[in-house]
């Protein structure tokens, strides 16, 4: 179709001549494409971020109740008031032959906006690998801070009872804890948490500390069931996946519930996916409307320079040339719009991810991947095909009428 021609110069001239109109067209296309791209990429980023934050939590065992509430409390540190598992229950879990790790997670206290969670050294190692600085807690007055907690090594603090606005400062007056270690970043709300020995949480509340009197100084398992006040949740892990399923079946009974945070999260993600589908349809509709608008604009523009094109044809340029010019013009606008849309989507996604990460402490890093590129490729091919329309119409105009206009 283009053999022997050089429409580039003319197309370039047309682009420059109507540059503000063209810029508007490009921006319109860019914004609508950016919305579609941003939506898909962001939803995927959120899904992956929340799943990665729950990665270390294989199986959670707790007193019977709502799985979602317990998941938000134990995995994402959005605590609620929940019943406790008894010492006997914990003992049974910890001594089960298939259990490789049984770590209590006792949330409830806080310091400023950091949850203070009682647990064991094993849990700290499992969650974050080694420590970034300092050492593990060895006394009930020691603590390990998450990577973004605003306390330096050696700093002391007093935990408040409860979390957030309902926290009672001074409820634990006189109980001072000192930070002796810091965890590396985990990309989860645990970066904001302060971990203390489980015994410390009980002592701070004036309860027995989990060990019989003769072992009162001990930190960490084994605990004595008779001196175990209770813990809201236990993280359980077996090496093999089938063993985790067997444990879930076994620990689902009248006095306990066991669930996979991963499975609960998958259900929540399915809900997010449905919302995303609805919004995708709206984004596609936006793209269709914008494309229709742009093409209408092109048809109008084509009429505007119909006279010049008719002149060219009168001078001997074949219809194909006019077709090529109009089509190349439209295609260039669409291409520029799509690329700009990709850039806008990328920037929007980075900004939104930063905001979400700051707000929720879950590391969200959305990136553009094949689904977005497929969307852009699809949009581009389709609209470039649609752009054949104005090109056809320009080509089939009556030369004499245009010359006389």
């Amino acid at each position: 179709m283009l053999r022997g021609f050089r429409p580039q110069a003319l197309v370039g001239a047309l682009l420059w001549r109507y540059r503000w109109t063209n810029l508007t067209f490009v921006l319109l296309i860019a914004v609508s494409v950016g919305i579609g791209v941003g939506l898909i990429a962001q939803e995927r980023g959120l899904r992956q971020g929340t799943a990665r934050a729950a990665d270390k939590f294989d199986l959670i065992v707790a007193a019977p109740g709502s799985e979602i509430t317990m998941m938000f409390a134990a995995v994402y540190l959005q605590p609620s008031d929940v019943p406790l598992l008894s010492g006997a229950a914990f003992d049974e879990i910890a001594n089960h032959e298939q259990v490789d790790l049984a770590a209590p997670i006792a949330f409830g206290d806080s310091y400023r906006d950091s949850p203070v969670v009682g647990t064991t050294a094993e849990f700290v190692t499992h969650l974050a690998g080694g420590l970034a600085e300092g050492r593990m807690f060895e006394l009930t007055s020691e603590a390990v801070a998450g990577s973004s907690v605003d306390l330096a090594l050696g700093a002391s603090f007093e935990p408040a009872h409860g979390v957030g606005d309902a926290a009672e400062e001074g409820a634990h007056a006189g109980q001072e804890l000192t930070v002796v270690g810091r965890m590396p970043a985990t990309g989860s709300p645990w970066d904001r948490a302060i971990l203390v020995p489980l015994e410390s949480v009980w002592e701070v509340h004036g309860l027995v500390n989990g060990h019989a009197p003769e072992r009162r100084q001990q930190i960490g398992p084994p605990f004595d069931p008779d001196y175990f006040p209770g813990t809201p949740a236990v993280l359980v892990r077996a090496e093999a996946l089938w063993a985790n399923y067997a444990l879930r079946s076994e620990f689902t009974r009248d006095d306990m519930m066991a669930f996979f945070p991963g499975a609960v999260l998958a259900q929540l993600h399915a809900l997010m996916g449905d919302v995303r589908q609805v919004m995708s349809v709206m984004a596609v509709l936006t793209q269709v409307l914008v494309t229709a608008g742009v093409l209408t604009g092109l048809i109008v523009l084509a009429r505007l320079f119909a006279r010049r094109l008719a002149l060219l044809r009168a001078l001997g340029a074949p219809g194909r040339f006019v077709f090529a010019v109009v089509w190349a013009y439209a295609a260039t606008l669409i291409a520029l719009g799509s690329l700009a849309g990709l850039a806008i989507g990328w920037i929007a996604v980075r900004i939104i991810s930063k905001v979400v990460t700051a707000r929720t402490d879950i590391l969200v890093t959305a990136t553009l991947d094949w689904p977005e590129f497929h969307l852009i490729a699809g949009f581009f091919s389709f609209t470039v095909l649609l752009a054949l329309l104005p090109a056809f119409m320009a080509m089939s105009r009556h030369i004499i009428t245009d010359l006389r206009a």
């Binding site: 089938w242 399923y245 996979f260 991963g262 499975a263 399915a270 589908q277 596609v284 689904p371 089939s396």
Partner: protein
């Protein structure tokens, strides 16, 4: 010429929604409260019993893909620990016991060697959990269809019928009904 161009454009515009986003799997399906009459044969179709083990409400989602996940409730009424290891059926090339897990933020089903069920306990195979994956399906399935499945344990096997539920179902349509 112009009419042709106009028709072509309308056709292309109408086709665009088909280029839209991926289809999604599960979403809540409300339990249908059609309390139909249960005939005796219907009861037998929903459960299978052998070796003290009861298997209840086997189902898959309607699909025309090459794989399907079969879900079922297992009750170990015997006094020994049993182990579900897999299955066999005429309508698929092979059956694997698989377990759901989140890997790097994406859903993944891993093949499992078997899962033990202690005496007196239940094991529920359900979406986002355990399932029997039917590989190489030989036909497509629509809601309301029915086929035979043999569930294998270390102590023997159970034969029963499985129902085909809607493509976005999250549970058997008779789940919760006592038998």
């Amino acid at each position: 010429m112009r009419i042709f161009v106009l028709l072509l454009s309308l056709l292309i515009l109408a086709a665009q929604p088909a280029l839209a986003s991926e289809s999604h799997g599960a979403s809540e399906e409300h339990h249908e409260d059609g309390h139909e009459e249960h005939h005796d044969d219907d009861h037998a179709d929903h459960e299978g019993r052998a070796h003290g083990i009861t298997a209840l409400h086997a189902w898959i989602r309607a699909t025309s893909a090459k794989e399907a996940l079969l879900f079922v409730e297992i009750e170990n009424g015997s006094d020994m620990e049993v182990r579900i290891v897999g299955g066999e059926t005429d309508i698929a090339d092979s059956v694997d016991l698989v377990g759901f897990q989140m890997k790097d933020g994406e859903a993944d089903y891993a093949v499992l060697p078997g899962v033990p069920v202690k005496p007196g306990k239940d094991l529920v195979l359900a979406p986002n959990g355990l399932a029997l994956r039917l590989n190489g399906l030989k036909q497509s399935f629509h809601k309301g269809d029915d086929f035979e499945i043999e569930i294998e344990f270390d102590v023997g096997h159970i034969e029963m019928h499985a129902q085909v539920e809607a493509a976005n179902a999250t549970q058997h349509s008779h789940a919760g009904h006592q038998h």
